[in-house]
Symmetry: C2
Subunit: 335 residues, 2 copies
């Protein structure tokens, strides 16, 4: 292998695996031929068949066999142990063995989280790894940490999320000194629950660009680039956000079904709606980072398309090349 950045792809993880994973891997290997090696991990025969169907013979595209598959029915916490020859475990092991620089997976999120945390370990000083998720805003985008890695957080965890999130938004999205907000139920310092009141003090003294509490209504306003909260609430808000669009689509359908005239108007407007809300579309973002582990893991939506997979691979490449983990390690050391 060369000095290119090596990205392992969990080719069996995801609703449309291995198709989406292999096609996305091919696209990334082609577009970034001089920069990356793509390691497709999973059922060798199936993967090679798809590659063959694409008439692809890129020498920066590799296949690594793994005979097992972690499914949504496997226990997240120990799937990587009970299925040692799964694409997830084998892919993760590549990082451990120094044969890959990063892993991307659109499989069972809990299993990816556990495998990453327990196999790679945490960056020294990090109490809890965190999953971030990007939200579109009226002026750009903001990333919320945590959206489900830890459901009963302490103030110290939220401080670390703010530090890691600021570094990620700085080095991956090029936002200098990102504004950090603390998700709460009122703007005033005195508003919140026990966790946020304590976290507020830590953030004030953190040296980060802390802008204070943000409310639910501020998430999409564009007043922050990093929002920190307990993983329980972050997870609820993230999943709720996705479902608002589902409801709107359902309402549009119901409205269209009422009359031919309505149908006509909806037909005309549906494209507008779609284009207007495409910022909500996960596939453009290409996965979310798991920060705080001794390695790089990018987690994708189960429904990831080839485009989303390609974007995840590029995101992983950037996270490696821009030395995000080294920056995190330095920042956390000073706590």
């Amino acid at each position: 292998m060369s000095s290119k950045i090596r990205i392992a792809v969990d080719a069996m993880g995801g609703d449309n695996a291995p198709e989406s994973q292999v096609l996305g891997g091919i696209q990334a290997a082609r577009e970034r031929y001089d920069e990356i090696e793509v390691l497709l991990v999973g059922d060798e025969n199936k993967i090679k068949e798809i590659i063959k169907s694409q008439n692809c013979s890129l020498d920066n595209l590799h296949v690594i066999n793994a005979t097992e598959v972690v499914t949504m029915h496997d226990s997240p916490s120990d799937a990587f142990k009970t299925k040692p020859d799964s694409s997830l475990t084998v892919g993760m092991k590549l990082q451990l063995d120094g044969k890959a620089d990063a892993l991307i997976s659109a499989g069972n999120t809990g299993a990816v989280l556990s495998a990453s945390t327990l196999m790679l370990g945490r960056i020294k000083g990090v109490s809890r790894p965190t999953i971030g998720s990007l939200f579109p805003t009226e002026t750009g985008r903001t990333m919320m940490f945590d959206v489900g890695a830890t459901v009963d957080c302490r103030a110290k965890h939220l401080l670390e999320y703010a530090q890691m999130g600021s570094i990620y938004m700085n080095y991956i999205y090029g936002i200098n000194n990102p504004r950090v907000g603390l998700l709460s139920v009122g703007e005033e310092k005195s508003k919140g629950n026990d966790l946020t009141l304590e976290t507020y003090k830590l953030l004030e003294e953190s040296g980060l660009n802390f802008v204070g509490n943000v409310e639910g209504r501020d998430v999409l306003k564009g007043s922050t680039e990093v929002i920190v909260c307990d993983g329980f609430i972050g997870n609820v808000v993230l999943k709720f956000a996705e479902s608002v669009l589902d409801l709107l689509r359902a309402k549009f359908r119901q409205y269209a079904a009422k009359s031919l005239w309505n149908k006509f108007r909806v037909a005309l407007s549906y494209g507008t709606l779609k284009e207007a809300i495409q910022d909500f579309d996960y596939q453009w973002y290409g996965g979310v980072p798991l920060l705080g582990v001794n390695g790089i893991t990018i987690i994708g939506h189960g429904k990831s398309t080839p485009l989303a997979v390609k974007n995840m691979i590029i995101r992983a490449q950037e996270t490696v090349s821009r030395k995000v983990n080294e920056k995190i390690s330095e920042a956390i050391k000073t706590n």
Copy 2:
């Protein structure tokens, strides 16, 4: 006064007070002439002026003078004490003195909550009063408790919310044996945080129609009529939901600004969007209930229109006539 149900209106509370409040009061008094008395509480001169401008001479419409106004800048917890002659305090006192059966207010929510809880007291056995908020769903509507009355809940509180919420949805919305969901981060019983794991057990044994955990993505799906959660998360989700629509409107505007053709399509589709999402519009719901206090309080959005105010008054009437508090008292007694 007659045997009609007497609804006090905090005529000075709300962004468009007293106009919206007085106009809404007049509409309600007219529509329900045989059933209700409306008591408009606030600046006598201003209120009478608006009534006069409407050529209104209904004898079930009364004005009660109050010289002070609780604003958004007043401390929620003691505004009712520091401003004893405010429309809120005077209106609440009418209930205490047996001169009104309910109060509606679109003013400072925290102040209304404190005044209600501390002046009226709690129903015997209720640990914490709760504010519910209605969400549209793909098939109907569901009400979330709590959306901000208590930010650090215990399992017992959530159980009581489920009991009170079930009664409210039954007697006010006519839903027999409403389905109760517990907001969490996974459907399985084992998923959640310390609070939800403990609450799950209480709800299982409650005799309510408990359907298990619901995730953020299920809120709008229509699989429940009552959802319980900590007031911190309920408040964040409620405010977040409101802002999604703001973001969509902003995206539509940005999209329209790109070209004349886009502008044309947005113009055609905007009405569709508006009609499709009108279920999200608070004014149709007419306020949210504060449950668990020894009296009836309906809380409105600061931006309440006359229509919203009228709906709040009707909601208050129903809450009195359908004896919601008596049912709650009976249910809680058996805990």
